[in-house]
Symmetry: C3
């Protein structure tokens, strides 16, 4: 073969346009079926994929920064501490957190603890009758200290093993009821939340632009009347979460403050606003619970007049508020659009297969259609339509 | 129908190969259009989808662990506290955080507070002229304690309601200027960051392998000269975030330290390095702001000589640094590859439709092409091309 | 053209069904190849995409809330502090954290520090021979205070620059060995974890429903025997992470407690259970390390008898446990299903191209097949098959 032939072949190969030979059937039934299925697929894409699911969008997850500020004072009058006014620096522990803040609502105070020895709190593990029931150096994981090996009088009736520990020991069997700081439900918390979607260079904060300072100074969040106010009354949060403040205040709990920043960034930035919701995160009263509620112990350390370290131990019950920021933003992007349209296009090509099957099996003239649609090539070189072996083939009339 | 026929039919059904009959048109115009569109689609896939978007990759989000260590000392000489050297355990509050650390830059100290009663800080809510202006037990949310019902002298000119609280009350109207610990800009912080992509079993830390201990002991991060040094000067961080340290130190603020671990794991692990960036997260000076800056109150508790609990209240202004680690890693995976290639293949099949439309509408010989491409079957059983009803059909010459 | 013709054209356009004319080839070789490739693609979709990758599922990331509670006591007997029993409120610092808790295992205690002046700790930067080696007001970033400009006796042999600071200075060159609170490996921690997948309205906690309270009171997590017990012995965690507790206790470290909530929500909620794993997050002994281990300093503040502020500085070494909750849940969703099936369908259409290529190049009768498959239209209006220019075209026999 010469060079000219070769070039010509290449040229043909590159510029010849191939298009399938098509049989056009004027049948209302098949035509209608064909258009109906096409319509269904296009409607699915338009309505469901594009409108509902926004599958043409690229997505990004939120990055967030939260700061909180609680306000309010409480006066308590307990037998141990006397009249005491609690302010923020006392009942919010630790004084600042990242996405979380804890508000003290109830407590058991054990003042004047020093390193010394004293009888254990009575229990099945610590009760004793003589020194032989106690073991020097024994350190029960659920106990409060290290046993000295002696059995001593806890009260007139009960003897327990003596332990070395911070003495006197805390007795947490009786929890104050009602909660000492139950009035904490009137406290308010200002939540400042800055978010960004780095993929879209989008930044926003939960104090929206149309809110002015005067409003901010006096507003309180309310789902219906003030949905954009960033100041929340603790009692309202707990009520929205479906709980009773006076009950949760007794033993504590964890309340989630959810801020949903799901946004469609194809629309104006104005429409991207946070939606708040609240729910209790720890389980209230399931059968299989350990350590229900939420509490922890902390201590204030002093040196007494003899320069001996003394501490006031506080078992703090309270509500931990977890500010959980979530959401995804979507914005038109060509790749997911192509992927979703492309996949649906594939289904459009399936429609032909369905209609062919219908045409060749359920139509009156199916034999006739089949004769024209299929050209059978058998090994002998003859063209024979499958459905009518006896008739002459299409190619050789 | 006998069993033999049935088997034969099945055999045909399974092994007969069906391929569309194709019309080959030697037209440079259509051919060129066809190839051009094909080329565009393939170029889009190759360049945009594969190279730019790396859509052939499976993705995973980063899991991170951060620890920080601040270094530096400051000597202050204030009227209340006298000469005082501040070290890390005093100005970093709390002493350790997970993804965040707070550096004290300014403060209002109120020493010697005890539970007692004293006049309120003057304001529109607390000023009074006689006892009748004050209400016993009233607890104003923006006030500092619980009113006793008496109106007492605050200063020579002003009378305010008396409250029970930690007295004397803090007066935070005057903030020290310049900031007491403004020299904190010379402090350095070492940030250790370990990340992993669990889907790809990939782990790395921000102290890169090629960095040696000698370098680590003396380096300071600099975007241009030392981009991999994990030790940051606080002043540099604030400057990079576009802020003035002496200004932000006055009232505090929140600065984000962003560590971007976006990686293409199809390349060597060596190329997966963290990129640092910094920006201020709270809003500086918008019109609608409440509680600008960043501050919180904490107290140190003492017992005085009469064994009465006393505290030093500190309103701490400072900079909270949030270390925000983000990023996604991608690695070749067959499923997204198939999905992306497949969807684009669907579009290749659309090219035929476009070229057919062009051929049948804009070409000189369109009638002629149409005659050969379409075989019309009408209900009477005749084959008639649509475009030339008067000519004989293709099937019956 | 009249209105009637126009309507008729539209009607045809809408209801005419177009289907490609197909050549059926009874060749076992091509047929088998065709079916084989089809089978491979369908098997890939069924086995890999659907079964293995669950690509038909929509996915959501976990939102989690963690609370922890450590239990245990330790008796230490050090030369400085004497006999001391440590309880939770002393060795867990801060007393509560969100996703993290720190357990003290070793420490350097410096009691009785006051604001005064004292000689620096000897080092290459602080050693001096005369006052001229020290510079008043100099504040070395790695030093412990601000120099007074005097060179004073540190010990009999060594002179160092005097600094104003919290004096006496801490000397952290000698770390207690074995670790003071090495017995902390017997402590237990209860981890409560509540998760949710907001997209699927799915909530669960790590205390599973079939676990009863009696079991919870006595169980300890063990990968084999008690994989669902939420109470962990610290020593077991460290061992599972591949570390030696007595070694890590010396200088501290960071241990990750990973809770994997990956779930297939198409199955029953019962099968969605957390999987725990543990690993060390900080680097143990790499060559290029700074500040190995994990430690921080905190202080307890007192007023001594002369009402001067005194503090006990503690350099706390210990293990920070980071509870890292991750996982994605999947549930059947129509959009990803369509996308994945659609993309694979596109590949099915490629099968035809492959088989055609095989048929036209590698089969004995390829010329014959080609003659029937292609109808060549050249510009002159003749139909000539490409492969046999000399024979008459298929359309004009």
């Amino acid at each position: 073969m010469g060079c000219k032939d070769c070039c010509s072949a290449c040229f043909h190969c590159f510029f010849d346009y191939e298009t399938p030979v098509t049989l056009v059937i004027s049948s209302k039934r098949v035509g209608a079926l064909f258009r109906l299925i096409q319509l269904l697929i296009i409607a699915y894409v338009a309505i469901y994929v594009c409108w509902q699911q926004r599958a043409y969008q690229d997505q990004d997850s939120v990055i967030s920064s939260v700061s909180t500020k609680v306000k309010g004072n409480i006066l308590t009058n307990s037998s141990i501490e006397g009249v005491h006014v609690w302010d923020v620096s006392e009942y919010v522990i630790p004084p600042q957190g990242e996405n979380t803040f804890f508000v003290l609502t109830n407590m058991i105070v054990t003042p004047g603890q020093t390193q010394s020895s004293c009888p254990e709190i009575p229990s099945e593990f610590t009760n004793c009758e003589s020194d032989s029931d106690c073991k020097e150096g024994f350190n029960e994981i659920r106990g409060n200290g290290v046993q000295t090996g002696r059995c001593v009088q806890y009260s007139d009736a009960i003897k327990t093993c003596e332990v070395i520990s911070w003495c006197p020991l805390e007795n947490d069997t009786v929890i104050p009821k009602p909660a000492l700081l139950g009035a904490a439900e009137d406290f308010t918390v200002l939540i400042k939340n800055n978010i960004q979607y780095p993929k879209f260079s989008f930044r926003k904060r939960n104090i929206l632009r149309h809110i002015n300072s005067t409003y901010l100074k006096n507003c309180t969040f309310n789902k219906k009347t003030d949905p954009h106010c960033p100041i929340f009354r603790l009692g309202d949060i707990v009520t929205e979460a479906g709980e009773d403040f006076s009950v949760i205040a007794l033993k504590g709990g964890i309340i989630g403050i959810f801020i949903d920043w799901s946004c469609d960034l194809d629309f104006s930035e104005r429409f991207c606003i946070p939606k708040y919701s609240f729910s209790r995160l720890d389980n209230k009263n399931p059968e299989n619970n350990v350590a229900p509620g939420y509490n922890f112990r902390y201590a204030k350390y002093y040196k007494n007049n003899e320069n001996i370290e003394t501490r006031t131990l506080i078992k703090a019950f309270g509500i931990r508020f977890d500010v959980i920021v979530f959401g995804t933003a979507g914005k038109f992007h060509i790749v997911p659009t192509i992927v979703n349209l492309g996949s649906t296009l594939s289904f459009l090509s399936l429609v032909n297969a369905v209609c062919d099957w219908f045409m060749l099996n359920f139509m009156k003239d199916s034999n006739y259609y089949s004769k024209h649609k299929f050209i059978h090539l058998n090994k002998k070189g003859d063209c024979v339509p499958l459905s009518s072996m006896e008739t002459t083939s299409y190619g050789t009339p």
